[in-house]
Amino acid sequence: MGTLSGKNIVKKYGKDTVLKNVDIDIETGKIYGLIGRNGAGKTTLLSILTAQNPATEGTVTLDGKPVWENEEALSHICYSREIPQVTMFGPNTLKVKDYLKTAKVFYKYWDEEYAKELVKLFNLDAKKKVSKLSKGMLSSLTIIIALASKADITILDEPVAGLDVVAREQFYKLVIDEYAQTGRTFIISTHIIEEAASLFEEVIMLDEGQIVLKENTEELLSRAYRVSGETEAVDTAVEGYKVYHPESIGRNKVVTVLADEPIEGFDGDVQVEPVALQNLFYAMCVDGRKEA
């Protein structure tokens, strides 16, 4: 299993262009974190990569072969997304066991025993109707389908929404265990960045329909710094670097710096701290890129 590639992906809904010439390569055998603000285009990108949504322009291939309507490619991909509690005319009366039975039919490598274990682990009542499930239980169901699919490329869109902290930790542990045992590729789109950050080998940041960053997480964070001190000293120290979200508090200033490569130290009397992924993301999103 090689690379899931998207080239020049454009998606338009009427006059709105949601994705703008996105190029992305997903190499197998990694855990990716896909982060971005609401409306950035994360779900649209994931649904196009998995042939659940046609792109307006562009191509998606797996090992060089188109994914669209391709049985071989689709058999290696699982995109587990939120299950609707309401259908067109009323509540979703399908039961949990019906969903799992359907998943068993369509996912070629479905692991029934593992699915049963996960249902027990998440304390899900298989005879309950989807419309009666809480938000957390719905998330548990999407996680079960994703993990039990045993697909080589497994994508989870907001998998921990509604889960309590115990269930979230259980999920992260399950992903790590599954990755360690099988080497499956996971792409996890989440807003709870800090909890999941330690899982991500590579982080992809999407903003306004474009990929602004795709990098190894450790390498990215090794060149991100939080620089604070007196305003003049900070301005001098960070001159020439990409600076995000400068904040002034009286005579002091705090900035987030993303250097091109790791820095030994900053000149001047400033305090330098490492930056967590969530804080870096926040700084980059809040007011865009500014150079000091």
Partner: protein
Amino acid sequence: MNSLSARTRKYYFLAGLKLFGYVAAVQLLLVVEWIFFGAEEADIVGYVSQNIITFNAMFMVLFNMMFAIYGPNWYDSMVLSMGARRRDVFWGQLIKQCTYVGLSTILSIVLCVVFKHENFMGYTIVAVAAAMILGALGLAIGYKVKKYGKIVIFILLIIVGVQAGIWGFVLAAGIKLPISSLNSYIMLSIIGVGAVVVFTLLELWAYKLNQKCMVN
């Protein structure tokens, strides 16, 4: 049964069987009611069997269309999200409808023969044609509802209401349509060919909509 096409077709075939099962269960309840209310009928067996044939035909048309409308937004969306291919979903829907309509037809024909209601065979055949056509139309409507929302249903209801009004007026005023003066065999042939043409066109439309559909 490893290929995705085969698995998808089997899934929809079983869905068609389930649909027939649900409708048959509803009819069984009605049978109990007819037996109860028809207790004073001279020929209760004939009364009940005639009702089963009539309602079976009506349900065949109604439920086939209803579940076809539901399809794109619900079951089809679900299986597409699990990696099914659109063309398999299209053929699957056709298999589901043919399974349900086919089983209902067999039930009606058996009842017509066993209880000697041969005069209802023509009625059953017309119901089969209507069920298949409205099933194809229901599928196309389902895709449009998925895209534009329930407003499509309201627009349809208005169109159907106006049409019902026009046909009601035609019948009430005793207006003779050119087709009614034709020999009954020619008329049936025209209706039959027309039904096949309309069905084919509707299925082609549904196929085009299916190819572009998105998972919700």
